[in-house]
Symmetry: C3
């Protein structure tokens, strides 16, 4: 059994941003030497998430607008009594999911034709991390 | 360590449909020879999902109506400028989740009394796939 | 490869309650002897969930109020024709997620500074279970 752990760092220019990370995860999988297994890709901060969906700019904008409808910013959240102003970011990341598990088959990410992995930042402009843990059988 | 990978194919008659797949997944687990481990069950298309919930027709209809409220079809989504008409399917599958990890204990799926695994199709009537990756200790 | 399976039992005084379980999961991980791997933490009932987010009372109340907006109780759900009254609990747990996979690095849960694991009960006041399956390389 082989295990490799690595971390991706982000510091997004905008407060909210979807960042495609498929290639970075694939690189870590290649380095791991795992031939059959899984890769856990998980946000380590609670105002960001990781999800799999389409790499299409219009849909990415749709996600942003939709999340603002379901979990609006600027409301009088109880969390804000602590001095925070990011309660909506906690809710938005809950909708998108905070982690994914990607299958590895034949040494590569076993993704469908349109599956792309994204980091979803909802309270950015500071350094944040995603853990990638690859685990499985080596060659 | 044992690993088995298999795929389930779907081509639902209706555009939206919830398909129970607990038995198919259990069959793959049995074939894997894994005694203690996990099974990843993950949609390979970005307009469908996999979730665990109740096998009760009324609740399944409730899910459908509820998803239509949270992520309505027929809106003027930006994604539709590409010629697509399925942005709502991307959003609906995000709510339901695109994958589950099922524990395997004593060679069997370790599910609670009411837990059933479903494939959630939101843009069907064509061939689509789910990957099942079973991983763990053999007997 | 090492695997340890354990179960956490709950019987919450209130119908809806968020219960922090980070320490219980960490104890199971310590007992497992797994040095590099993952821990699956998954609700075995379909009206409760498991999620990772902030241990801040205000935000936990925000989550409760928000879920009531997105998936209200007391509606005339079809599921209630079976005699049940908890359709909203099935929907609320779907938003929060029913399971998480936690990375284990150097023998410990590899969590970010604010990540806490919660059991989310939406139909409590009776005995319910969470499965914890730890899997990976021993020391």
């Amino acid at each position: 059994m082989k295990v490799l752990t690595d971390y991706l760092w982000f510091n997004t220019p905008k407060r909210r941003e979807m960042v495609r990370i498929t290639d970075q995860v694939a690189d870590i999988v290649a380095r791991s030497g795992v031939h059959e297994g899984i890769a856990l890709v998980s946000a380590m901060h609670i105002t960001s998430g990781v999800y799999v969906n389409d790499w299409e700019e219009g849909l990415i904008e749709d996600f942003g607008a939709w999340l603002e409808t379901l979990a609006p910013s600027g409301l009088d959240y109880r969390h804000h009594q602590t001095g925070e102003d990011n309660a909506d970011a906690h809710l938005k990341r809950t909708i998108m999911g905070h982690q994914v598990i990607l299958p590895i088959t034949g040494g590569k990410l076993d993704l469908g034709p349109w599956e792309q992995v994204f980091y979803a930042e909802f309270d950015g402009q500071r350094r944040k991390r995603v853990v990638v843990k690859v685990l499985g059988e080596g060659t």
